[in-house]
Symmetry: C2
Subunit: 438 residues, 2 copies
Amino acid sequence: MTELRTLKVALLGCGNVGAQVARILIEDADALAARTGARLQLSGIAVRNVNAPRDVELPQDLFTTDAETLVKDADLVIELMGGIEPARTLILSALRNGACVVTGNKALLAQDGPTLYEEADKAHVQLSYEAAVAGAIPILRPIRDSLSGDRITRVLGIVNGTTNYILDQMDSTGAQFADALAEAQRLGYAEADPTADVEGHDAAAKAAILASLSFHTRFALENVHCEGITSVSAADIAAAKDAGFVIKLLAIAEKLSDADGGEGVSVRVHPTLLPREHPLAAVRGAFNAVFIEAENAGELMFYGQGAGGTPTASAVLGDLVSAARRLVLGGPGRTETTTGHVPALPIDAAVTSYYIGLDVADQPGVLARIAQLFAEHGVSIEIMRQTIHRDAESNVESAELRIVTHRASEAALAATVEAVKGLDVINSVTSVLRVEGV
Amino acid sequence: MTELRTLKVALLGCGNVGAQVARILIEDADALAARTGARLQLSGIAVRNVNAPRDVELPQDLFTTDAETLVKDADLVIELMGGIEPARTLILSALRNGACVVTGNKALLAQDGPTLYEEADKAHVQLSYEAAVAGAIPILRPIRDSLSGDRITRVLGIVNGTTNYILDQMDSTGAQFADALAEAQRLGYAEADPTADVEGHDAAAKAAILASLSFHTRFALENVHCEGITSVSAADIAAAKDAGFVIKLLAIAEKLSDADGGEGVSVRVHPTLLPREHPLAAVRGAFNAVFIEAENAGELMFYGQGAGGTPTASAVLGDLVSAARRLVLGGPGRTETTTGHVPALPIDAAVTSYYIGLDVADQPGVLARIAQLFAEHGVSIEIMRQTIHRDAESNVESAELRIVTHRASEAALAATVEAVKGLDVINSVTSVLRVEGV
């Protein structure tokens, strides 16, 4: 057998995921060499503090604070520092030096992906980032390669484990958001400052990446409409449950046509009602899943662990082995195709179904007036259900009205809700939530 | 913009899937060219009868009976004829001519894959076959590429839609196998001669392919232990349901270690009990899903349509675009890695849990004697449940005993069941079924 070539691997960052990547590179060196056709030699790990405690015991002499020098000498660079700088500068420097780069930095990709893709194209090297979306789940490669002969029409993703855990707890125990969040923090599923997760920012970055690959067009974070789960109440969850739905925070990227009011892609993150029999409804706890609808393939779902050091390291290593194989076999890097050129649509142009909860006066003719008003705004009602409550003491009756609409634009729905609020028979609009999968 | 290069695509076979592939190649020519960087020109369709009726209207001048000539002139060959010959000869001829080949021919791959892989390696061209397993679901590429830095430990697949439809019908309506099969035939989910599906042969070919890619070792059909669903009774399904299980026909490929009694891979197809809360249990009707356990990634599931012309065409086109991109960009073909060299284990060495139904005499001490006998054979019992039936007329009591074991080897289980049959308190062994996911 011929002597194997050695490829130098520089690791930037040694947190949760980085430490596991380093461990696997060392422990599985022989298996990785057999599969790659080259020895993947971990040449160093750049960190801020070489003496900080680590999840995994690693040779101390691998650690350095000099990331620049480490990158200059590497064939393959793994960036797991997170944040914009110095990650961005180091990745650009690695690409210019002809190194292949593997990163899990969703924030950087969503904010400044195009700069990185262009640099990789120019240098004919590979920039891979499977770990940036849905942790261990192989989702970006299937979208980019396996579905390259199909047309994706819609992507619905549960891509944030923290919020899925919180919503799942609220659904199964009836807890309020604050209590479920506290429990998630206690178990390590949520960070001390949970903003990026619960406000949907993390999911929005992933939505931008999913939309870009699915529709062959570069979408940035600013194209993503984002609503988190902080305003989802136990009452919302209970009402949804009662109506046969579960509430999930979904990252949605959807192609709309002229028939929907304008051609383009709607990219958004918001709490969404799903029928309990929908495949995504069964995704519990901190798991992730991405549901894809394509013209020819039909419905596909990809399910697995969306976070955690070891699972995410699996995605990083998959990218690393693929990039190394390419270096060994020769041939150009993969280029990002941006052949779609479809516009990003504002949230007003999004088209979906809605669930509307209304507290109404219990009078004859109320339902007819509300239905009439929806019809006037071009919003068609699929289900309308009224429940009468009688207060035992006061004997006063109140009525709760739940409406699920057919697909309508956000603009039409907003106008309808405004008009409904003006009706004298309406006490309050108790909730407006978007619905998918009906 | 520079003039695009043209790549000639020869299509062999124009059945269900082939007709859809031809349609998409013609209808989506511009989008495919944009993504590939070359025009994919359908140069001809080889069929047995050029005048046979087709699912799709296609230009009559594309059809030819001369497959050999068509193949000689092609850059890319799509083989969708099925069967061993002439498919095998035509694929080998295409590879020798330097053409990339895309096929969905699971029977040929399971029987003679190594010959084809070696020929593709020698010619430095790509041989792809995503459509051969689980139709539209991207599963082979994720296993081969995305998980290339991980170690797969187990694959459980629902890879035959016909049998999943039949078992699902039996589960939801209580139908007997024969009636559910007749219904599946009426709806077009089962063929007039359903042998290949219901006897598990189709699933076994797919199991061999999944095992080969997952464990980097070539497994052939003869390495796969295969049992179909023809002996699964309505009573089996009812008993499983009552105990919280669903019966699925699973293709299983599992790495066993010395601790299990011998290192190797057990590849098998058989009806299997799954807990109702297992992700695979929710795969209904004719859908397919593959559940993967990997050391680092943990549990992953891939779900979608496993058959049908248009969904399967999506997988074919994905392979075609990937191969064409490689031709455009240059660089060598992908080679199949066979770095594992793990032996295939006989069915006796397989290790799993079991469900055993026994009709026993209702006497004191029976449970203890049976438990003792299991213990003597090294098979540990997880659950043991006895139900007493009293015949209202005769007043005779009979007892039904249901046992779920911990993991044990097939050999140990078989010896246990033989010994149990010899007990005088046993009227009959009503069922022995394997269990996964507990």
